[in-house]
């Protein structure tokens, strides 16, 4: 049964990959680095039930993302920054460990990389 399922899954994958031939290699989604993918996942995870804002967080007098939820974005942000060759020491020195600075820096790297990917896709066509 398991084998049957696997071969069905494989057949489906083959179909999908054939359908996308030519375009599969050339989408922003497929050209992202693993660190960019994890950064995406971190933002999506803010919607997981346990990560949504609590009643108290919603009543705060600001729209700034809460410290608790910023902390959910920090590991992927650090990973993305370090993937560009920045060292841990530099990261600490430049951000002072401030979560917002880490996330903003990572976002800037993310946007720059996305732009580069989009440009590459355009020049391929």
């Amino acid at each position: 049964m398991k084998k049957l399922f696997l071969s069905a899954a494989f057949a489906a994958l083959t179909l999908v990959s054939c359908n996308n031939e030519g375009s599969a290699v050339n989408t922003v989604e497929t050209m992202k680095t693993p660190q960019m993918e994890n950064f995406d996942k971190a933002f999506k995870s803010l919607g997981d039930p346990q990560n949504r804002p609590t009643e108290e967080e919603r009543k705060r007098n600001t729209s700034e993302l809460s410290e608790r939820r910023k902390a959910l974005l920090v590991p992927a942000s650090k990973e993305l920054i370090l993937s560009t060759g920045v060292t841990e020491a530099e990261l600490t020195r430049k951000t002072g460990g401030d979560m917002s600075q880490i996330i903003v820096w990572a976002t800037q790297i993310y946007m720059q990389k996305s732009d580069e990917i989009r440009k590459n896709i355009k020049s391929d066509k």
Binding site: T27, V28, E29, K32, E37, F39, D40, K41, F43, K44, L46, G47, R52, P53, R58, N61, S63, E64, L65, R69, K70, L73, D98, S100, Q101, I103, V104, T107, Q108, Y110, M111, S114, D115
Partner: protein, 163 residues
Amino acid sequence: MIVNNYSTTYDFQGNISAHNFAGGCYPYVTSSTPAAITVPANSHTGNGQELAYKNFRDQFTGSLYPTTNWTVQLSPTTSQVRAWNHVSIAPGGVIASNVKWASSQFQMYFAGTSTPEPSFSGLIGESPDPCTGATGYISTPYGDAEWFNITTGNVDYSYLQIY
């Protein structure tokens, strides 16, 4: 400004506004063409289909969901429609430098249809904000919408996320 529509059931349709926060509410700039920007279901940074606006101008050439015209109010009684490339709303100009992303009036529709989910809608944005009266979090049985910022001394990113 980033809009991530993680909902797999509903398309997002709405406008996006920015205004001055440093006293008074003007300039006040709202996307007006198209009347509603559509960010389809399951369109987010994860698959490269997010709405990302850097400023009033560059969004037109750089985003997947271009806004052609912005309505610019300089006071409660003066309103002008400006094309995306009009010099008055260019980055670094007086208007662009004195406003920040603030809110979105939106309605969710069943994906690919014009059938709305009536209660999954609202005015979401910076909160509290006396200029808009928007709420920062909207929770419905069909999904949630939230607006948040991540801010440092010189950078301010605004996010609208639909779950």
